[in-house]
Symmetry: C2
Subunit: 186 residues, 2 copies
């Protein structure tokens, strides 16, 4: 568990920095938006990432606490704080997933070399982090067989449509790649 | 507390139904999107609402449990389940806020009478629900003075830019209405 916690810590510290870089990129775009629709669009994404940033400000110290102060016996479903950690990690797994999509959406519009290079870098990190967190959480949930039911479990099956790094965002399109209809996601 | 719980239950049951109606509206739009960008855009919003729906499937029974099985003594910061309830409610306060913005974004594109009428109805409910949850959670946090620190507290100050129902979505634009720059949101 300590090994996973060390990597969780690194992933969420990295993504926290990535959010800040992405928000800095959105700042001038919002300020100079060509109309209200464009402004609301980017501002909305900005706010969702800002909300994620606030949650990470609580999660990262919690991961650190378990990493440094806790022992194996604390990693138990009988420990409420451990359950809270797992629940928060599960939420931020989706935070990483949504971040990948925010970056993909931005890649459609910010096609200049400077921004697209940075966006592709952030996307590669977020994608890798998402995959790691998803796999490790599934394994942890199985290992502990605790009574916390992942409310998003059915969701993950459909999330593999996220394209691997280096794939153009267009390939990150579920209907075309996987052949399932959107209706089947419900 | 029982009175608030009854209204929370009603608000989140209403918004659960609203999500399903909104997803049904997005379904054909995603299927017939004119290009990959448009498809990813609507699919991304669809997925975020789908994630919210999954969380509400857990939250609504938890509200109901506190409403029907619990007594005043259980509404205490010493009760881990109560703390979890408050934390989940706080998260779904932001879920309602983001839903209002998803609806505002949709109102820019779905301008035909049938869809815009429904969207405006869903928006009015979500806006009202958001305001109620925000106010009541602030009061509850104050009343119990528990040790849970709302990680989004600083955020709320800036969320009043959401326009009241009946205001055109364009008015829901923070920089223009409030005169603060996006940078000040950080």
């Amino acid at each position: 568990m300590k090994e996973e916690l060390a990597l969780f810590y690194q992933i969420f510290t990295t993504t926290k920095d990535a959010i800040e870089r992405f928000m800095s990129m959105l700042d001038p775009v919002i300020e100079h938006a060509k109309d209200d629709h464009e402004r609301l669009y980017y501002h909305h994404i900005y706010e969702e990432e800002e909300q994620r940033l606030s949650r990470l400000d609580v999660l990262i110290p919690l991961i650190n606490k378990f990493q440094t102060e806790k022992e194996e016996k604390d990693f138990s479903p009988n420990n409420n704080e451990f359950n809270r950690l797992l629940q928060e990690l599960n939420l931020e797994k989706f935070g990483l997933h949504n971040f990948v999509e925010h970056l993909d959406l931005a890649l459609f519009s910010f096609t200049d070399e400077e921004r697209s290079t940075l966006l592709n870098k952030l996307r590669a990190d977020a994608y890798e982090g998402y995959q790691y967190v998803k796999e490790k959480l599934a394994a942890i949930n199985e290992r502990f067989d605790h009574d916390y039911v992942d409310p998003h479990a059915h969701h993950d099956e459909h999330h593999d449509h996220l394209a691997a790094p280096g794939t153009p965002p267009a390939a990150n399109e579920p209907n075309k790649r996987r052949g399932f209809t959107v209706g089947s996601l419900i």
